[in-house]
């Protein structure tokens, strides 16, 4: 991890102040003089909260990267005419907010297509690319929710385009498609995943054995009970689509946060009985690691595979706390 600032007092203040406020209420009702002790503590807690929070916001501001939109998110509307007629299809307006590499702005293009009940957003985009605008760029491969390439934002929600039905999601026969903003954008609907994979790589996402023969030329299998498998199984379903990173409000506001995808993989490997890598938790027990997570939970709500990164991060926090307590004993 890049920065090694240990647990911010913010988190202690976050828990402490509400508890003190509640004690204050009790003391207010039963022991009026206890207020004199509790009130200064609440004040101190709030100050710590304010200072640490402001510092966090400052750090985020400092680490801002890339070019700003200057409020002009929508650009000018370019309409491509014509209506494609398909058998039994309904006409749908697809508003594609694409990143124009010339103007370096996100601009909406409007296309009309025919969509039937099976048409996915990815089908619609492929149709538009084939019949309307050959310059439209998007990334895809499997078309069946396996490869994780087609992550984009449909009607404001990060989704896999190949798993999102057009008619079910169209509002007033209109659907809006935009690139994910949790990663830098390359062109149109295509994100650049260099930063994403760098973060993924930084957590050593593989099973590690101290004995190199066991790692690269194992003579026997490492047997696990069903219960041991269940400990890490859902976290191993990650297809690296990046939807969780796009949904995460912290990744959006502070690019140096390692993010839910990499952290969920820390939990996946540290829970695997075959793994012998030490310090997996310690490496992310820093401000830009688990402690940047504010438990908004949006990452888990958009994950198409049920990896639940938010749960993984809270479990990592609890393990980190247990480690500290153990060390102190």
């Amino acid at each position: 991890m890049r920065e090694s600032i240990k647990i911010a007092p913010l988190y202690i203040a976050m828990i402490g102040v509400p508890i003190l406020m509640f004690l204050f209420l009790l003391s207010y009702v039963f022991f009026p003089y206890a207020n004199t002790i509790l009130m200064p503590l609440i004040i101190a807690g709030l100050l710590v909260f304010g200072v640490s929070g402001a510092r966090e916001v400052y750090l985020q501001k400092q680490k801002e990267t890339g070019i700003k939109l200057n409020g002009n998110l929508y650009g000018k509307t370019v309409t491509h005419g014509g209506v494609i007629k398909e058998n039994g299809a309904k006409h749908v307006t697809v508003k594609i907010k694409r990143f124009n590499i010339v103007t370096r702005k996100i601009e909406p293009n409007i296309f009309k297509i025919g969509a039937d009940k099976f048409t996915t957003v990815l089908d619609a985009l492929i149709l538009i690319k084939e019949k309307k605008d050959k310059t439209l760029s998007m990334r895809y491969s499997c078309r069946m929710g396996i490869c994780g390439s087609c992550g984009m934002v449909v009607n404001g929600k990060p989704v896999l385009a190949c798993e999102t039905n057009v008619l079910k999601n169209a509002k007033n026969d209109e659907i809006e498609v935009a690139p994910m903003q949790g990663n830098p954008i390359l062109k149109d609907l295509v994100d650049d995943f260099d930063d994403f994979f760098e973060k993924h790589q930084s957590i050593n996402p593989y099973l590690y054995r101290k004995n190199k023969n066991e790692q690269y030329a194992a003579k026997e299998e490492f047997r696990q009970t069903q219960e041991e498998i269940e400990r890490f199984l859902p976290y191993s379903y990650c297809i690296m689509c990046g939807l969780c990173m796009d949904a995460c409000p912290i990744v959006n506001t502070n690019p140096s946060f390692i993010g839910p995808q990499a952290l969920s993989q820390v939990y996946r490997y540290k829970s695997d009985t075959r793994d012998q890598k030490e310090n997996r938790i310690e490496n992310v027990d820093v401000l830009e690691g688990i402690w940047s997570c504010e438990f908004a939970g949006a990452c888990s709500k958009v994950c198409p595979k049920g990896v639940d990164p938010a749960t993984a991060i809270q479990l990592l926090k609890s393990d980190a706390m247990k480690n500290i307590i153990k060390k102190d004993e």
Binding site: M21, I43, T65, K68, Q181, L186, E230, T253, T311, Q314
Partner: protein, 137 residues
């Protein structure tokens, strides 16, 4: 030629993206951001109150801090439930995994963790009501 990318990340205004797909998270984040700055003012008012006894103002600020802390309190309680049940309660784990792995989980505790955030929330709100009655009415 160097790859040219366009990075939108880094602006607090992006928090508003949450509004379209996760209102709960949106409120949580917005209240938290307001609270950071508000806590400075509140602490200042409490200090002044300590010396000059500006009771009405400090009471009003105390109650506002109480309101702004509400999403944090609720989410912290949910966080505890998530940790206590390893994501079985208030988590979003893979559905087929949940049905097959359910047998390894402590079912009894799960029902406690399901209601825990609501109990904490009810206590928190009752605290607010008691103080409001005591101070403002």
């Amino acid at each position: 030629m160097d790859k040219q990318t366009y990075d939108l990340r880094g602006s607090q205004s992006l928090l508003s993206r949450l509004f379209r797909f996760d209102t709960e998270a949106y409120l949580h984040m917005i209240f938290y951001r307001i609270l950071i700055w508000f806590s400075f003012i509140a602490a200042g008012i409490f200090i002044l109150d300590y010396f000059f006894k500006i009771n009405a103002l400090s009471h009003a600020f105390f109650l506002l801090v109480w309101i702004f802390f509400t999403p944090q309190v609720l989410e912290s309680a949910k966080g505890l439930s998530v940790i206590g049940t390893k994501g079985f309660v208030f988590g979003y784990l893979n559905k087929s995994y949940l049905t097959t792995a359910g047998k390894y989980e402590k079912q009894k505790m799960n029902s406690f963790y399901k209601v825990l955030p609501y109990i904490v929330f009810a206590l928190w709100i009752s605290g607010f009501v008691v103080l409001s009655f005591e101070w403002l009415i």
